[in-house]
């Protein structure tokens, strides 16, 4: 039984010109874990996701995933290894239907990984759309979707890549109470199916309901990492992020 963490982030740093976006980030995530990542706007959460997933290159430190060093691997190679993310602002393929959107990761990530074993792609897309409740709009274009439906499509597309680790980047932002619960239920179900999840959110009740472990990022640095109930009582966390 392998004890090594699924994701290991060591000393990762990233600057934009003179601005230090990330400094010396240490993070490890074990298989099956549910990790919450919170912090004020601009604290570097999305930058960290981008560095892990390969959209940006970190200048210092290293990222290891499932035993592989990710340095030098492009974003699509990391997705093929089993790392997937949803975008904070949904980025659907606008000229393709929902089903066709989901087909892309299956064709380019899953089938490449498993030697083109998946042949019933249409069936799989159907399954995924059912999971997020979008099967009725399978052949519609993304522009016909509501906000929450776009978020669900975004998550479904990330899931279509059959990831071992899914990073959900503020999927709940701006949604209503009931819609937040929808997404929360979806993520919990995915975790039950064996997907390790990092959830980035501002909605604390969802974060606390979801996370086994809570990580707090402030101004590019990690200031807390541990049991959610303890972390939210930490003084520096309260001062920097939660308020009184």
């Amino acid at each position: 039984m392998n004890d090594a963490p699924l994701l290991q982030v060591n000393g990762v740093g990233k600057r934009f010109g003179g601005f230090i976006a990330l400094a010396d980030i240490e993070l490890s995530v074990t298989l099956g874990e549910r990790v919450g990542l919170v912090g004020p706007n601009g604290s570097g959460k999305s930058t960290l996701v981008n560095c892990i997933c390969g959209t940006l290159r970190n200048e210092t430190g290293s990222v290891r995933f499932a035993g592989h060093r990710l340095e030098g691997l492009s974003a699509h190679e990391r997705t093929r290894l089993g790392l997937a993310r949803s975008f904070q602002l949904p980025r659907p393929f606008a000229t393709m239907s929902l089903a066709e959107n989901l087909r892309v990761p299956i064709l380019y990530a899953v089938n490449v990984r498993n030697g083109h074993a998946m042949t019933d792609i249409e069936g799989r897309c159907d399954e995924l759309l059912h999971m997020v409740g979008l099967h009725e709009k399978a052949h519609r274009l993304p522009r016909d979707l509501t906000q929450i439906e776009m978020r669900k499509l975004e998550l479904a597309r990330a899931m279509a890549a059959e990831p071992r680790l899914l990073i959900s980047d503020e999927a709940m932002a701006g949604l209503s109470h009931g819609e937040v619960d929808d997404i929360l239920a979806l993520l919990l179900k995915l975790n039950e199916q064996g997907v390790t999840i990092i959830m980035i959110e501002h909605i604390m009740r969802a974060v606390l309901a979801f996370s086994q472990r809570l990580v707090v990022l402030v101004a590019g640095r990690k200031i807390a990492d541990g049991d959610p109930q303890e972390v939210v009582r930490q003084r520096d966390v309260v001062e920097a992020y939660l308020g009184s």
Partner: protein, 321 residues
């Protein structure tokens, strides 16, 4: 419709066209027909990169003229059969596409467009300074009277080859559309960042598109020296090739192989008529105005008038790979 059925239909259509041209038996039909067919190839080739992936290539002249000039070089060296020259033109331009792509495709799409503009001028300058192919004085190529093996005049033979190239180009474009490659191209056009995150190897696919596109343009240019019999840089690198090649898919529609075909036939014949009746400068002006008009007012081109995209069916892919 399976790809093989489609190709068969194309071959039948091409045979009908050629038979009709032979039956009319007017030399002008072949001269004009060659130009229209050449544009079918050019427009289809451009669309593989521009329409499918969204990366604009302004340096059409570089690929096209380099195909033509590779023929000049081969003709002067050892005068091989036309098929060799066509393949050579495709190879040369394909390599140029690979090189340019490798240097610039990591950058944003707009930088790529500017780089292709640069490429056309660099290529023209190099050719202008290359005495072996005549430099700025140009090169004379003797057009044989008769085709080898077949009972055709050489100009009819050139038309036949251009027909064949058109069939190959159109078949390739459609095959791409119905394959995994086509899906990948479309994701690059829609959202390259999301494409990468979904596992699409965007750089590799863009390189493939650039090589295919450039290669076909080179093949379209290869027979040109025999068609014009005198080739110099200013005519080979003429801006009208670039404008037409870009205008045709944008007017016809960039979303499928049908668009460049419609655009090439429509604009090509319009220009042939206009050049004879008004003037070539005016006919070019009309092309320019149509380009701007369509791009502003009808972004989906002529195809867009007939097939509004609100609901889509998931297109079946052939082969799955």
């Amino acid at each position: 419709m399976r790809n093989t059925t489609f190709v068969a239909l194309l071959v039948v259509a091409a045979s009908v066209v050629f038979a009709a041209m032979m039956w009319i038996h007017n030399g002008y039909v072949f001269f004009a027909g060659y130009v229209v067919l050449q544009y079918i190839v050019l427009a289809t080739a451009w669309n593989i990169l521009g329409g499918y992936t969204g990366y604009v290539n302004f340096g059409i002249a570089a690929f096209f003229a380099c195909g033509a000039y590779s023929t000049v070089v081969l003709e002067k060296l050892w005068s091989p059969p036309l098929i060799v020259m066509i393949l050579a033109g495709g190879l040369v331009s394909g390599i140029i596409g690979l090189g340019t792509g490798y240097l610039t495709l990591r950058l944003r799409g707009t930088f790529f467009g500017i780089a292709t503009l640069a490429l056309a001028v660099v290529a023209q300058t190099l050719i202008t300074n290359w005495d072996f192919v005549g430099g700025s004085r140009g090169a004379y190529i003797i057009r044989p009277e008769h085709a080898p093996l077949l009972p055709l005049d050489y100009i009819q033979y050139l038309c036949l080859w251009m027909l064949i190239l058109s069939v190959v180009a159109l078949a390739t474009a459609r095959a791409i559309e119905h394959s995994r490659l086509g899906v990948g191209f479309a994701t690059i056009r829609d959202d390259e960042l999301a494409a990468e995150a979904s596992g699409v190897p965007t750089l590799r696919l863009k390189l493939i598109a650039t090589v295919l596109s450039g290669g076909f343009m080179g093949m379209a240019g290869a027979p040109l020296p025999f068609y014009v019999t005198y080739l110099d840089p200013s005519s080979g690198f003429n801006l009208s090739y670039a404008v037409n090649t870009i205008a045709m898919p944008l007017i016809g529609g960039t979303s499928s192989w049908v668009g460049p075909l419609i655009g090439a036939i429509l604009l090509g014949t319009l220009q042939q008529v206009a050049t004879v009746t008004i003037s070539s400068a005016l006919s070019l002006l009309i092309v320019g105005l149509m380009l701007v008009g369509f791009v502003v007012a009808a972004p989906n081109g002529i195809i867009g008038w007939f097939a509004p995209a609100t609901r889509t069916r998931m297109r079946r892919l052939r082969g799955g790979r």
